[in-house]
């Protein structure tokens, strides 16, 4: 997730992101990682000329973006497979692709991208369910070939498992090829895609969630022979991933031009971009798609220091980083008239996790008491210098379409928001007493409200609770989480609970908390930890089940609740947004009550760009990096 704020050697952040991407893809958000290509509503017929009324008519020259790790591939298959699924590859390659449907920013609306018209509900046909999508007519690949429904079918058939005759790509590709649900994808004519389901699909797979409507479309005429050749080999996946995609035609605003390892990647504007010149409205902002740049250049920097200097020098226009920029640069940027800093909420959260398979964390009295002790307002407002804001639900507030302020506020109150220290201690003491906990030296609150710390808490079973280790990232990796861990350990110690914050190397935390046994089950060999998640799709948040369902891919806290599993099932099978919305908030309530994770706080994402360029909008969830720096609509500033 974007634990941006003050951190960090972002080299390692790449790792963080990779891990998070893995988790996130496991819960099935939209395709090529954080990108969601903005594009025109289907009703809008593409016009060849951008409207003259828009100030800048184009010549931006080269749009120069700063990146922090190498673009490792030019192969679209690889960049959406686990092997090359880095955010850096996505920044460069995502703007070259397109899908039938997708999420529009900044409004976070799901809608048709290359499809003609909104997505229609599936229809029953025998024991199968059929979904039909139509492509807009007249769209061309960058090499001039027409875009057809066969391309969509080809893509799906390439991705699927060997049993179904595919190459079996991994990671994000699998979201589009859930073979338990999807039976087949075929082109009934040049522009019509027919998807056959085994059962009635919910919105989670047919619609805004994941699934065939959002699969990135690959050019059959280019890849057909390569895929056919790969399928004859022992390991077709490796063969396909190793193939060069430099010559492959593009759909999106850019197309591949050049790549020098260790230095830069470059692309050109795609003359046949499907939305070229289209007027798009999203979240109340209207703009005309370009691209207005004559070239796109992605330059590699070794660190933010050098990159900000380069930005100030005019060598780049925008710095792309999934974690945003470090706050200390703010003043430098503010003093520089040529630069602008923006901050946006992120699609993620940082949390405290309890191991539900180990006492006393398995006891809800204990979890509640510890949660009651944590003054998130004090933590974020004072200790974390106000750059973080407290969270009481998992879904971030920045996801405006899904956020339910009423329920969130209610859960905040239930989650002990706004209490003073004395009340918190009293609450915790009451909870623990009620849960039959005793102490060697009990903490006491006298009549005047004076608090005396206790020590040596003893569990309901009469056994002394030893030291509990709270694993958190080190201060040098993320000072926010390290500080939070120290704070939590401190308030717990006052209550006689021997919680020790153990600052641990990030990679080691991952190794510990995601350790699995032979049967691929999480071993959960820890007491508590603090980490963060970045969340994939904002238009249809599908991550809850992955984190908290009994069989969830990323449920490493061993939390198990029949009520929650049922709510998650309802969500997955929902046929309407409202149904999904209600199911999701049902899940949120259960999470708030059972506390597998206690959401702690989140921060904004800070980004810098040069005033040479102008964007149609900059207030957008997770910032400009979430839309790859918006290469299709960026213009020269007036």
């Amino acid at each position: 997730m974007a634990m941006m704020s003050a951190t960090t050697r972002w080299l390692r952040l790449g790792a963080l992101f990779a891990v998070v991407a893995m988790l996130v893809t496991a819960c099935g958000p939209s395709g090529t990682s954080p990108s969601a290509v903005a594009s025109a509503p289907a009703s809008q017929a593409p016009t060849s000329e951008p409207p003259a009324s828009e100030g800048p008519t184009g010549d931006l020259g080269t749009y120069k973006l700063g990146i922090f790790q190498d673009v490792e591939t030019d192969n679209q298959w690889a960049s959406a497979d686990t092997s090359q699924n880095t955010v850096w590859n996505a920044y460069f390659l995502s703007p070259m692709t397109g899908s039938l449907y997708g999420t529009f920013m900044p409004g976070i609306e799901f809608g048709p991208v290359m499809a003609d018209g909104d997505l229609q509900p599936t229809v029953a046909e025998g024991d199968k369910w059929i979904g039909t999508m139509k492509l807009r007519s007249g769209m061309l690949w960058s090499d001039g070939e027409p875009v057809t429904a066969a391309d969509v079918a080809f893509t799906w058939h390439t991705v699927v498992s060997k049993d179904k005759g595919g190459v079996e790509l991994l990671g994000p590709w699998q979201d589009f090829a859930d073979e338990d649900v999807v039976d087949n994808v075929e082109a009934t004519d040049d522009l019509t895609v027919k998807v056959t389901y085994n059962s009635q699909p919910g919105l989670a797979v047919w619609g805004p969630g994941t699934g065939v409507p959002q699969i990135p479309i690959m050019p059959e005429h280019y890849w057909k022979d390569i895929v056919a050749d790969a399928l004859t080999q022992d390991d077709p996946r490796t063969v396909l991933l190793a193939a060069s995609g430099a010559e492959a035609p593009s759909l999106g605003a850019t197309m591949f031009k050049d790549r020098q390892a260790g230095s830069f990647a470059a692309s050109d504007p795609n003359p046949n971009y499907y939305d070229k010149g289209a007027e798009i409205t999203s979240g109340g902002v209207t703009w005309t798609e370009g691209p207005y740049a004559t070239a796109f250049q992605y330059t590699l920097y070794g660190g933010q220091d050098a990159a900000v200097l380069a930005l100030a020098n005019g060598e780049v226009d925008l710095l792309l980083n999934p974690l945003g920029m470090q706050r200390g640069f703010q003043d430098q940027v503010k003093e520089n008239k040529d630069l602008t800093a923006i901050v946006n909420p992120t699609n993620g959260f940082r949390f405290l996790a309890f191991n539900h398979s180990r006492a006393p964390m398995s006891d809800h009295y204990f979890r509640d008491a510890l949660t009651a002790l944590i003054d998130k307002e004090f933590l974020t407002g004072n200790l974390l210098q106000g750059v973080a804001f407290p969270l009481y639900v998992i879904l971030p507030e920045g996801n405006v379409n899904w956020y339910n302020k009423e329920v969130a506020d209610q859960l905040a109150t239930e989650g002990y928001a706004g209490l003073d220290t004395a009340t918190r201690r009293k609450t915790a003491l009451d909870l623990l007493t009620e849960g039959k906990y005793t102490w060697e030296t009990a903490p006491t609150i006298d009549a005047d409200g004076n608090f005396t710390p206790g020590s040596g808490i003893i569990g309901p079973d009469g056994k002394k609770i030893g030291t509990l280790r709270l694993i958190s990232p080190t201060a040098s990796y993320d000072p926010l989480r390290a500080t939070a861990a120290a704070y939590i350990a401190g308030v717990a110690q006052d209550m006689g609970i021997d919680v020790v914050a153990v600052p641990t190397d990030f990679g080691k935390i991952i190794d510990i908390v995601f350790a699995t046994n032979d049967k691929n089950e999480y071993t959960a060999d820890y007491d508590m930890f603090i980490l963060g998640y970045s969340l994939g799709s904002a238009a249809f948040p599908t991550f809850h089940c992955s984190f908290y369902c009994t069989t969830g891919d990323s449920n490493n806290t061993k939390y198990s609740s029949a009520a929650f599993d049922a709510a998650a099932d309802t969500f997955n099978k929902a046929q309407t947004i409202e149904e999904a919305y209600n199911a999701m908030w049902e899940m949120e309530k259960l999470i708030a009550k059972d506390k597998p994770h206690v959401p702690l706080f989140d921060t904004g994402i800070l980004e810098f760009y040069s005033n040479r360029v102008a964007y149609p909008f900059t207030d957008t969830l997770s910032g400009l990096q979430f839309i790859n720096g918006n290469p299709s609509a960026v213009t020269a500033a007036k």
Binding site: Q332, G398, A475, G490, P503
Partner: protein
């Protein structure tokens, strides 16, 4: 090694008259031997000191080290007396001047009480709204003498007192330097002396080992080790010491020990019936030690620099050091702020540089005492 052959001309007579100007030694007679030894030790120290004192740069270096030593001692005293641990603790302390603003749309009319939405979002977080009253802590805060809890060197981006961190880290630096340097010297002196004295197979194997360790570039190896294992300051010091001690220093000290080994007083000791152990311990090592001390100084320098570099890359899990201070500044993006946030970078950066500088200068000064040829003529 302060002997020079031209000292003291023989007066020819068998009277053995004491050379003019030497202090009378009979003061020592009839005193317990340890007292005599102590006095002798003090006297030779005094002589070395006299020579060292002539070296201006060495004295400057010593001054620097003493200054840092004072700083290291000052920290626990200040924490116990003047400083409130809640505020001044180098790791968990917190204090910030908090300013209150009302968020307004557009440019604020009264900048002391109002703040624009855009500014508030940048300063705090994207969730703030117009009309809200917000508290903005000033951190990193510039140095100031004001208030009940002044921060003489300001605070870091987490509102922790820089001076306290600086002083606290001095202790860590000395500790690490001492561990590393002592290990280096212990190993290098032993290895060098033993290899030189016994020669043959022992020498061969020890020197091949030295070659091997020389081959291991210190920083990359330590980076890998710190990635594979959790290491703390003691282990880091030991590792730097072992790798440094077996490597180049052992080879230099072996050369020195070899030049001692061929002196006839070694033969004299053997004829007297001295065992190998006696000779190595009483004759070779004492004559190699001055050079060892010299390398000890360089060892301290190296250890401090390496720790700072590892911390700079965030590879060490230690609470607070100068390297962590610079790492904090860098992680928060203040590294290239020029001089506007000088207190985040300069105290720690200069502390590393100057303490290293100090030890290095003392080392060089000692080198000139040990090796009279280097003295300015």
């Amino acid at each position: 090694m302060t002997t020079t052959k031209d000292q003291g001309a023989d007066h020819g007579a068998a009277t053995g008259a004491v050379a003019a100007g030497s202090p009378a030694s009979d003061a020592f007679a009839h005193q317990p031997l340890w007292k005599v030894r102590l006095a002798l030790w003090r006297r030779s120290l005094g002589k070395t000191w006299g020579l060292f004192r002539e070296n201006k740069m060495g004295m400057f270096g010593l001054g620097l080290i003493l200054l840092f030593a004072c700083m290291a001692i000052a920290h626990p005293i200040l924490m116990a007396t003047v400083w409130d641990p809640k505020i001044y603790d180098p790791v968990t302390g917190y204090s910030a001047v908090e300013l209150q603003f009302v968020i307004v749309e557009g440019e604020p009319t009264d900048p002391s009480t109002q703040i624009s939405l855009q500014e508030a979002r940048l300063r705090l977080n994207p969730t703030v709204k117009v009309g809200q009253t917000v508290t903005i802590p000033v951190q990193p805060a510039p140095p100031s003498l004001k208030g009940p809890n002044p921060h003489l060197l300001g605070t870091d981006p987490q509102g922790r007192d820089i001076l306290s961190q600086l002083l606290y880290s001095t202790r860590a630096a000395f500790f690490l330097g001492a561990v590393a340097a002592l290990t280096t010297v212990l190993i290098a002196t032993t290895v060098g002396s033993i290899a030189a004295y016994f020669g043959g197979f022992i020498d061969g194997s020890l020197m091949r080992l030295s070659d091997l360790i020389l081959l291991m570039p210190l920083l990359p190896v330590l980076i890998l080790v710190s990635a594979l294992f959790e290491i703390n300051m003691v282990m880091l010091g030991l590792m730097i010491g072992v790798l440094g001690g077996f490597g180049g220093v052992a080879i230099v000290l072996k050369a020195q020990a070899l030049s001692v080994k061929v002196k006839s007083y070694i033969d004299a000791a053997r004829v007297a019936g001295g065992t190998h152990w006696h000779i190595v311990l009483r004759h070779i090592i004492p004559n190699v030690l001055p050079l060892s001390f010299l390398y000890m100084m360089f060892g301290v320098t190296e250890a401090i620099a390496i720790e700072a570099t590892l911390s700079f890359f965030g590879l060490l899990n230690v609470p607070m050091t100068w390297g962590i201070m610079i790492n904090t500044a860098q992680n928060n993006g203040y590294l290239l702020s020029g001089t506007s946030y000088w207190w985040l970078l300069f105290p720690a950066g200069l502390a590393v540089t100057f303490l290293c500088f100090g030890f290095f200068l003392v080392g060089r000064g000692m080198d000139e005492v040990i090796n009279p040829r280097l003295r300015a003529r």
